[in-house]
Structure formats: C-alpha cells, structure tokens
C-alpha cells in the first residue's frame, strides 16, 4: 500500500495553486465561482453572435482591476 501511495501522491503545490486560482478570481470580482462560470458562458454566447469564436480560442481572464476577454485569432 505504501508503495502505491507515494507513486500516486500528487504534489500539494498543484492543489494549492488550483485552489488559489478559484479563490482569487472570486475574491477579485466578489462573486462565487459558480456565478463566474455563468458570466463566462454568457459572455461567450453574446460574443459568438457577432464574432466567430470557439471555446478553444475564447478565454475570460480576471485581474485585480480588469476583466479581459481574450480571443486568440489567427496569427498573420
């Protein structure tokens, strides 16, 4: 059992970083992670009405003072 445990143990740093990512975003915009997912989804729906986006090239990033909508287009 001990052998498998050490092999499967994921580093606690990855857990910490994932938790922080969710925490900071919801702290910054003062809403629940759930509401945030909904915001992202609705932004995606709205934008896709006018611009050709796919879930792969669309991303919403939240910093302390800004909400960035990122659309990665073709590099020319």
């Amino acid at each position: 059992m001990g052998v498998f445990e050490t092999k499967k143990k994921t580093s606690s740093v990855l857990v910490a970083k994932d938790r922080l990512k969710v925490l900071l975003v919801s702290d910054r915009v003062n809403c629940t992670p759930d509401a945030l997912e909904k915001i992202k989804l609705e932004l995606y729906k709205t934008i896709s009405k006018y611009i050709d986006v796919t879930p792969e090239n669309f991303d919403v990033q939240i910093s302390r003072t800004n909400i960035h909508i990122k659309i990665t287009g073709e590099e020319s």
Partner: protein, 263 residues
C-alpha cells in the same frame, strides 16, 4: 524629502514586524536616517522585536494628541545612531487616531528622515487605513501559503484603490527542501500569482527566532535571512542586487550556521 513606506500583509503572523525592524536596521546600516512607526494600537510589538521595550515613555497617540513633542516620543535604537522608533500605544485602540492625523505625522517625519517605515496591523479595518494614509509606497509581505497569498492579493487590490502605485513583494519563510518536493509553492509561483515587483525572498531561518528572542536585528547575525534582508535594503535604495541562492542543500548553510552558533 524622505520616502514613506508601509509594510503590510493582510494576514497576521507572516512577518511584518520582523521585516519592519530589519529593513529599518539595514537602511540605518546604509547610513540612512530612518524612523519606524508601530501603528498597531493596543497590540504593541515592534518595540519588543527591536529590544527597546524598556525605553518607552511616550507613544504615537501622545504625539498625535499633543501630550508631548515628537522628539520626546522617538526612541533611539541601541545599535544604530540613525534609527528611531515611534512606539504604539498599548492601552488605546485604533479609533484614537484618524488617517488624516497619520498623514500629517508621516509628512512631518519625512521632512527630516530619509525613510519612514510603517508597521501595519493585520486586517483591513481602520488600523490598516491609518497605516496606509501617508504612505507613497508599500511592501507586501506574504508566505507561500494559500491563506497568506489570498490576503496579500486583497491587500494589493486595496492599496491600488488607495492610489499607492509603488508596490513591492517580499516572500517570507521559503523552504527550498519543500519546494523541491512539490510541497511548497515556489518564489516563481507566488510572484506570478500576485504579479507585483519582487523585492526579496527570505528563507525560513532559525536565526530570525534567535534575533527576536534577543531583541536584535537578524541582519546583525550572520545568517541567510540577515543577508536577504540586507539585500532588500540595497534594492530599496535602488541598487541592483542579485537574488540569493536559497538552495543550501543542507550543506554549506548548515555548516555555516554551526560555525556561527559556536561563537
């Protein structure tokens, strides 16, 4: 005109007071005129860390209320000629002073000193508002833990909102052995998340406890943390100093501390 710097963190117990005391000592060692102010009303600590607790006559609230002149309240450090402490009041609470009064007081001190360092209380209440009122620059102290980083992020947001533009980060109590194992966030992880200028990194060093026990700055003890604090002071002064290699591998550093312990 000197610079007014607030040392803050949001979360308690991450090393604000120790950092204030050591940056104060380090800047004084660089021949700067420095005054450190304990703004934690009711929970006086900076005097103890600096070993000056027996010399307090007047305090910050006395100065603000006009019970004494500034000169009477300032305590000269034991070691450094150009370092002074303005202690906090132990029997008053944060409502005894206002942000406006703090701003006036720090402006007055900045005329005479090169650096005015404010040791901020934990939290984001009035004590925090008082401490940041006169500051033009902030040093945010954090440790590589989820709770401390979360609080640091909020504090950074509040500092930005309060028009403090120059923000620096100190990451305290890094343990390289744990970082290597994947059980502690690295310097890169933390500074990437908080995204402000990295001013310094401090190892989790036993000598810090030794210094605090004795009321001596760790900067005077030959230790990795002491060197790191001294480098931070040089960077505050605008010198480009490379970051220390904290990965001591249990080799050279352990040997060094053993040698110093024997002295």
């Amino acid at each position: 005109m000197g610079e007014v710097i607030v040392i803050t963190s949001g979360k308690g117990g991450v090393g604000k007071t120790t950092t204030t005391a050591n940056i104060g000592a380090g800047l004084a060692r660089l021949n700067k005129k420095v005054v450190v102010i304990d703004t934690d009303l009711g929970l006086r600590n900076l005097d103890v860390v600096m070993g000056l607790e027996n010399r307090i006559v007047y305090n910050l609230v006395d100065v603000i209320e006009g019970n004494c002149r500034m000169k009477q309240a300032l305590i000269k450090d034991k070691r450094y000629e150009t370092l002074y402490l303005l202690p906090s009041a132990q029997t008053r609470d944060k409502t005894a002073i206002s942000p406006g009064q703090m701003k006036k007081l720090t402006e007055e001190l900045a005329e005479e000193y090169d650096y005015v360092l404010l040791d901020c209380p934990a939290g984001i209440e009035q004590g925090f508002q008082n401490a940041i009122a006169g500051a033009t620059r902030a040093i945010v102290v954090t440790t590589p833990e989820v709770s401390a980083i979360r609080d640091a992020d909020r504090i950074i947001g509040l500092l930005e909102k309060n028009q403090i533009k120059k923000l620096d980060l100190i990451i305290n109590r890094i343990r390289m052995d744990m970082v290597k194992r994947g059980d502690m966030m690295s310097v890169e992880d933390v500074s990437e998340i908080l995204a402000i200028n990295l001013l310094g990194v401090l190892p989790d060093d036993e000598q810090v406890v030794v210094g605090t026990n004795q009321g001596e700055p760790v900067i005077e003890l030959d230790s990795l943390a002491g060197k790191a604090y001294y480098n931070i002071c040089q960077r505050i002064e605008g010198n480009d100093v490379p970051f220390l290699n904290l990965d001591t591998n249990g080799g050279v550093f352990k040997k060094l501390t053993r040698i110093f312990k024997n002295h």
